[in-house]
Each structure stands twice: as C-alpha cells, then as structure tokens.
Point group: D2
Amino acid sequence: MNIGFIGLGAMGRGMAQQLLEAGHEVTVWNRSPEASEALAEQGAKVAKKPADAARHEVLVSMLADDQAAHQVLVESKAVEAMKKGSVHINMATVSVAFARGMAALHDRLGVAYIAAPVLGRPDVAAAGKLNIIAAGDPAQIERVRPVLDAMGQAVWPLGESPERANVAKIAANFMLATAIESMAEASTLTRAYGIEASDFLDVVTNTLFASPAYQGYGKMIADARFEPAGFTMRLGHKDVGLALRAGDEQHVALPLGSAVRDRLLDALAHGDGEKDWSGLAEVAARQAHLDKR
Amino acid sequence: MNIGFIGLGAMGRGMAQQLLEAGHEVTVWNRSPEASEALAEQGAKVAKKPADAARHEVLVSMLADDQAAHQVLVESKAVEAMKKGSVHINMATVSVAFARGMAALHDRLGVAYIAAPVLGRPDVAAAGKLNIIAAGDPAQIERVRPVLDAMGQAVWPLGESPERANVAKIAANFMLATAIESMAEASTLTRAYGIEASDFLDVVTNTLFASPAYQGYGKMIADARFEPAGFTMRLGHKDVGLALRAGDEQHVALPLGSAVRDRLLDALAHGDGEKDWSGLAEVAARQAHLDKR
Amino acid sequence: MNIGFIGLGAMGRGMAQQLLEAGHEVTVWNRSPEASEALAEQGAKVAKKPADAARHEVLVSMLADDQAAHQVLVESKAVEAMKKGSVHINMATVSVAFARGMAALHDRLGVAYIAAPVLGRPDVAAAGKLNIIAAGDPAQIERVRPVLDAMGQAVWPLGESPERANVAKIAANFMLATAIESMAEASTLTRAYGIEASDFLDVVTNTLFASPAYQGYGKMIADARFEPAGFTMRLGHKDVGLALRAGDEQHVALPLGSAVRDRLLDALAHGDGEKDWSGLAEVAARQAHLDKR
Amino acid sequence: MNIGFIGLGAMGRGMAQQLLEAGHEVTVWNRSPEASEALAEQGAKVAKKPADAARHEVLVSMLADDQAAHQVLVESKAVEAMKKGSVHINMATVSVAFARGMAALHDRLGVAYIAAPVLGRPDVAAAGKLNIIAAGDPAQIERVRPVLDAMGQAVWPLGESPERANVAKIAANFMLATAIESMAEASTLTRAYGIEASDFLDVVTNTLFASPAYQGYGKMIADARFEPAGFTMRLGHKDVGLALRAGDEQHVALPLGSAVRDRLLDALAHGDGEKDWSGLAEVAARQAHLDKR
C-alpha cells in the first residue's frame, strides 16, 4: 500500500523498515533528518514536512507522547492534510483524553482513525514481531491488515472505540511497572536475609514467572545493571501517571499504581530519570538502607 | 530410604505417594486417619502418633502453618523423638521466626534440619513436579537428594541457613499476590472503559505475561469463577502477612504488600475468605462500583 | 480603595460584603446576576462584564478553580483590561502550574499579582475572619493591606513568588484531607471493637486534637451527617489531586495523599460526590463491611 | 486508698507521686531500684517483688509493652497474689490480644480488671493532668475514681470490655502518627517550592490545626530537632504495628497506617530508632532528596 510514516525513533525506524521489506511504498518524515536518510537508502521517500507524509492512503504515526503527537500531527496540520477516505494508524502510547480528542478530530475530517499501540521493545519492532493492540472501525482495521501484519506477529482487536486500545496499552504498562516493583521489593526482602538477588530471581523467573517481562527485567535487577536503559524511569513515571489519570477519570483506584509512582518519584528525585525502570530495585534497597549496609 | 512423613493434606498426600512410587519405605501420620489409610493401601505403614513417624532416617513434614507445625512437631515431642544423626525436611510455609526457632531446636537435639518449602499446587505435587526451595547444611541436602528428587522437578538451593528457604518462599507468594492484584486493578480499569476482562487479559497473558501464574489466575478472573478455590483469600492474607512481618523485622517496607493486604481485608470483611484469591478482582470492581454499574 | 471584585460564590459574597462594610468602593461581577444584585443593595456597583470590574486600582477575584479562573479572567480579557500599576489579588485555590502562568501574564502586562488563597469556610468569610496566605511583591502586599485586613483576621506572608501561597494552600487542604481520613480510619477501627464513633471522637477531639478542623469534621462523622456538605467529596478529590500534581512536579511523594485519593475515588464511584468529604468515614466503614454488619 | 504501684518509668514515677500527694498509701515496685528509692523519700513503701506490691486493695501498673507486662505481672505471679475483691488498673499501652488475655485471667482469679491507658507525656503525668481512657466494670471504675482523679484531669469511660480502652488508645496513637506524617509530607512539599518548613507550619498550626499535638510536633519539625525524643520512632513503629494488627483481626484496613509504617521502617533502617517520631520529616525529605539538594 501507499503509506506515510511519521516518527522514526527507536521504535519507528524498525517498524518503517518492516513496511519497506514487505513491499509497501513508504514516505517518511522525522524531526531530525538523519533517521529519514537511513531509511531513504532502503527505498523510502522522504517528506519535507509532516503534511506531505500525511497525504497517502495510509498514515502511520509513532510519536513519543501526547505533546509530540499534538505538535507533529495536529499543530503542523498534518491530519488536516489527509485525504477523505484515507486512514490514520496512531501507534503511540498516548493518554485516554488525547486519544478521545484525536478520534473526534478525524471523525470531523472524514478520515478513519485506528489506535494501535504496541507491546515490544525496539529489537522486537526491528524484527517485525510486535504485538499490536488495535481499536477502531473493524472494516478499516481489516483494510490495513497487510500494514499491521508487516509490523507485528499478532493483532489484538479491542472494539470500535479507539481509546480502548490506548487504555489497554496503558494498563499493560501499569502491569509491567508493578511486576518490576514486585521483583524490587521481593529481592530487597530476601537480600535482607542474606540471599543474593540473582539467586532468588533465578528461582521465581524460571518457575512461577517464566515470562519475557519478568526474565528480562529480572536479569537487570540480578546484575544491578540499569544502564543503558531499555525503558527509562522518566517514561515509566509518565506511563504510570497515564494509568492513574485514566483511573481517576472513571473513579477506579489503582493502589499498586500509587505505590509504584511514589518509588519512581524517589528515583527521579535522586537524578535517576534516565536509568532503566528496573532500577526501582535501587530505590527499594536505598529506602531499606541496603545500599550501604 | 526409610522415611517418616507427617501431614497428608492436599499437598502432602501427593508428595508421600511420589515417595512410595520411587521405592522408599514410608511411615505416615496424619491428624485425621482417612488420608493415612488411603496411603496404606499403596504400601505405606501408618504411625500411631507423630513421634512414631519421626523415628526414621529421614522425617518429611508438610503442615499448614506455624501453629499446626508447632503442635504436631514440637508439642507432640515428635522432634525430640528423632534419632541423633537423622534429618528433618520441613516443607511447610512457615514464618521466619518459626523457622529460626526450629533450626535452633534441631541443632540442640543433634538432628539435621532442612527447610524445603515448595512452589506448586496439589496437582503439581501429585505429579512429582514441584519446585523445591531448599536451605540447610549442603551435605545433608545432598544426602536426601533422592527424597527431594522423588517429589520435585527441581531443587533450588539457597544456602546453609534454613530460614532463607522460608523467606524466599514467602517472597515468592508475595509476588504471586501482587501479580493477581495487578491483574485485578488493570482489568477493572479497562472494564471501566468498556473492555471485557477476558479480552484484556487475553492480550497480556499471551504476550508480556505468558507464564503459568498469570495464565492460571488470569483465567479465573476472566471467567469470574473464584470457587472452588485453588488458594484461598484466607491463606493469601496469612502469607502476605508473613511477608510484611519478615520485612518489618529487617526494616524492609513492602508498599505493594500493604496495598494487597488492604484489599484482602476487604474480601475477608465481606465474607469471602474461602474464595480463591484471584477474587481480588471482585474487590477492585466493588470499590470502583463496577459490580453494580 | 477602589476595588473590582469578581466571583460572588459562597465565599466571595461574604468577602465582598466585608469590603463594603469597611468603606471601600466595590464594583462586582458574577456569572449569575442574582448575587450581584444582592450586593448592589448594600452599595456595590455592578459591572456588565469582567473587564469592567477589572479596571480599578485593585482587582480581587475569588473563582472556583483553574478552569473558571481561566475563562473569567483570561479568556474574557479582564486581566488585559487592568490598568498599568494596578494590582490583582487572586484568592482562589488554583494549581501551581496555573499560578505560575498567571504570574507571568501579569508581569508581561505590567500589573502586580498577589496570590492570596484563604483558610476558612463561608461563615468565616462572612464574618471577615479568614486566614489569608499571601505571596507576591511585599510592597504591593503592604499597599493592599487594608483590603486584606477587611476580609481576614490574619495575613500570612510567604515570600515574593505568588505560586508559594497556592502551594501552601494546597498543602493545608491536603492536611485537612488526611486529618479527616485519619478520623475515618480510627473511628472505623474502634467501631469494629464495639465503641460508638461519637464516644471515641469525643475523647480525641477534646484532648490531643482539640482544634477547629478536627472538631468540626469529627462532629459530622460522629453524627453520620454528611449533607448538606461544607466541602464536597468532589472538591476534596480536586484538591488532593492538586497536591499530588504539585508533588509530582517536584518529585515529592505524598503517600498519605495517594491513600486518601483512593478513598475519595471510592466515594465518587458510589455517587457521593456532593456529600461532605467527612463522608470518608462511610467509605472506610463500607470497605470494612461495617455499613451492614 | 491502699495502693500497689508497679512500673516507675518516665510516666509511672510522676503518676505514683501524684497518688502520694493525694494522700494515698502507696507501695511501689520497679525493676531498677533507683526509681523506688526516690519515691520512698516521698513516703512510698518499697516492695521487694511484684507480688508484694500486688497485695493491696488497688494495684496500678504502668509497664512498657506486652512483653514487660507479661513478665512483671504474669510470670512473676503478681496477679495471682492479688486478693479476691481487689482491683487492678492496668495503664499500659498493650495489644488488644494481650488485653483480652489479661481480662480473662483476672476474671478467673476473681479480681477486677480495669484497662486505663493514658494520653499525655511524662510532664503531663507529673502534673497529674493525664487524660485517662477507662474500660471495665463501671462499679469498679467508680470505686477507684479517687485513684484515677489523682493522676488525671479527666476520665473517659468506654464501656465494660477492658480491651476497648486499649483499642481506643491504640487508635489515638495511630492518629498522632498520621498527623505527624501529614506535617512531614506537607512541609516537604512546600519546602520543594522554596517555603521554609517553619513558615508553613506556623500557618497551619495556628489556624486549622491549633491543637497541642500539631503544635508540639510541628515545632520539632520546624526546628529540625528530633533529639532528645519525646516519643521514639521505635515506639511509634510498635504502636502503629498494634493498630495494624488490631485492624487485621477485625478486617479493617488502615491505609494511612500502612503508609506511616513504611516511613517508620525507613527511619529504623537508617538507624534513627531513638529519634523522636517527628523525624518522619527527615524521611520524607530524604526520599525527595531534599536532604541534599
């Protein structure tokens, strides 16, 4: 298909590359031009401005957060430049409120809008193995199937209302945060009784919790290596904040979310915003004074 | 080997059976005699009192909690009846304080003491596939290897101090509790936005959290079937309490543990102590008034 | 002095009246005209639009929240209508971010800006006995002293940066919320042991906590009368949210704030947004199932 | 009256002195004899062992905690030595479970038992101005009125069941803990915005919270002087633990209690167990990294 692609960060570049490899015609735009150039060598066209990337049958966008999405897609008039009958697949992790506003805006403009946030890190994106949570008009999701299939190993449909995909993604990240904090607390407790973190985490991540998330973050905690970050404290704080806000709006308390948020704040206060969020184990150890005893 | 086995509850009977099948000579004792009789048909001898089961080369005990272990092993004089040089493998989930007291008692009596709590439900026990966390004198653990191997698929050694095995088991159960509560909160949040719990949990337990614990409890939450219980709220409350107490003693805060405890109390207050602890999803829904809206 | 007064809600009308009684010349504006008319009978002039009230030596505003303040003061161009050298006393409880934006806006327009939120309920406002927390240029605060003195029994200066007064007011309301929740939890605990809430609260609010806040809210809890509300759950939720956001921005965790927020969400979920926030005692009782046992 | 008095710690010695000054005949016992000797100079008789102090019409005891009370009153056979028809006034802060056990024991021995824990610090005890929370047989409370009146400014009766007085005292201390933590969090928040803790606390403890508890602890926080302690972190941790346990037993969650407990654990982990519990302000500042920024 004829695809515009906006946002070539760590995730986006791998996803755009998969689209090229699947034989789609892709026009890319990125704030800093280096990423575009790299893809141009692989066959992508390079748009001069967001609106130029938006004038295709399908627009895929993968931006960092509400603010970036607002600037690059709305303020730049990219969305307004889309043709009637085309479809926008927004794959960013954005707030529920923003998702709702975007759905209304596209509706007004006569453009289909699919929210399709993803589960998976940059290496998974580069391998085309993402899990894609999708919500929007089912007929439109079917229409762009080839696009989604090129980027992901599976598509998980969650109904017609786009915001549902976003809230599910936010809830999944909330669960990741609590899983990490759970390992942080449990390994601090067992360390206080003389057990090496690696010994304890070895047991649980090979038995009850033998899943990618626990094993990946468990290894970082066991090795006490929190840099380079896969996903930063800063972003973790942002995403747990999105979950708390989504809960607030619908009067759903998330006590585990509040507890994790407070620990993330401790990390940010100590200047660790760019460390991996598995560094929550450091916060737990510091509060228990195990960092120095 | 010549083995005494005390405690034929849902877990113990499967474990004792595995010992028989592996060709060991087993003398059993249980408070209610029915369980002993069933094993007698499979070749076990039946002891008249705990002390009679304790007079063997190896004593294995699998009792419900501190109180039961104290009554059946200590007050009954079973431990005192053990022969010098024999070894006691205590597989119950007990408190750190109790574990410490038991270690000291056995030391005084000249009997080896191994703490060997297990991960796994009754069906896993019956299949001889438990994961066994073991701590105690390594030479003694080696000596009883055939016994442990008959009951488990793997032995996870955690050093010489028996209490370490207990604190690791307590920490693992704490992690289970937080994982369930995390699913409870996340599925309540997504339900508030119109997503069926089964649809959301389908995504996460087949991607990020594709592990036995999440899948088993996730299914109970998705189906809203909390009876019959695999592990009750009452026991969950007891175990989270053990974790909080273990943390308290070493000045390690477990904020997630406190949050789960409060939700478990809500369940107990509402008379749901005998429901499965995945019923935490009901508590989350009730507090968000999603049970009736 | 020649004063414009915007916002004649439950608080504002009493404050404006005190200004009239102190002999100031007051021009009022309010969204619904009834409140203005009542004050006109006491000698106030009535402005046709916010900007007309803003063209005086001193502008006092008392609006409900960020949104109301933004609409009535900024969007309406009232602030822009102020004369150079005049001074605006904003007495509303607004967010830190909004306070910061207002300070910058006034600075740009050459108008002095004093943030002066108040402690006290409508009856206290009507009696001119408010406690006024003030921040801004000290010379300007001195200049408007007669205005502040007419409305309050004391002025508490907190430095030059206006946002400080707002964060102090937010922190004071946070403390109120925790005091109420503390009474809610303690009286639920003692009720579970058969002590009437009134008996327990009688002890503590006449000894350790013999202060207006505890005695006022303690009486509502003891009587289980949460309507009519002095301060609603909805507003309490808003204000605790302001505290959490202010903390978030500076990386200061407020664990008590998160705990209270979750209880307020339970109240809102159950349709109790317009009850007095001392109704937190009902939430505590409901979670402990004391409402029905 | 003829009174035995056991336990001459910081609180007990002032209380015993008041009894002497009121003209009662007092026989004292204390673990370390110095305290007894000081009172002997004021007219007290000195008992050689607890049982000797117990053989009077009225026994008053004021011991540190469950453990001390158990050793000195039960193990020493002091309670057994009491005469039928005499009455024991236990003024210590003990757990609900211990209170219940004591009530049953006295009942069996035919001795009246009044639980009468107090609100007030040593200086208040020395002045005879304690607030006394009393529960037990009303006729017996009336009988010992002169004794209670000599030690306190007011007696607050809470019914026949002695444990009620203890749970009320525990709940009152829980409220103190939350009040201190609330000041700790609020003053940390305002400090992060550049407001001196003393300036903020000055406002709130002279307006909304103008009560002894807030003013006393507020001053310690404002001055950042946490030694010498009026009431230590260690004791605060013990008392909040009693509240959580009392809640646990009756299925009443105390979310504020859990939050404070975690902060107290941070203090204990950092070696601050003997500081005053208003030092919770240091914990809040440390977690927000305000101790060093």
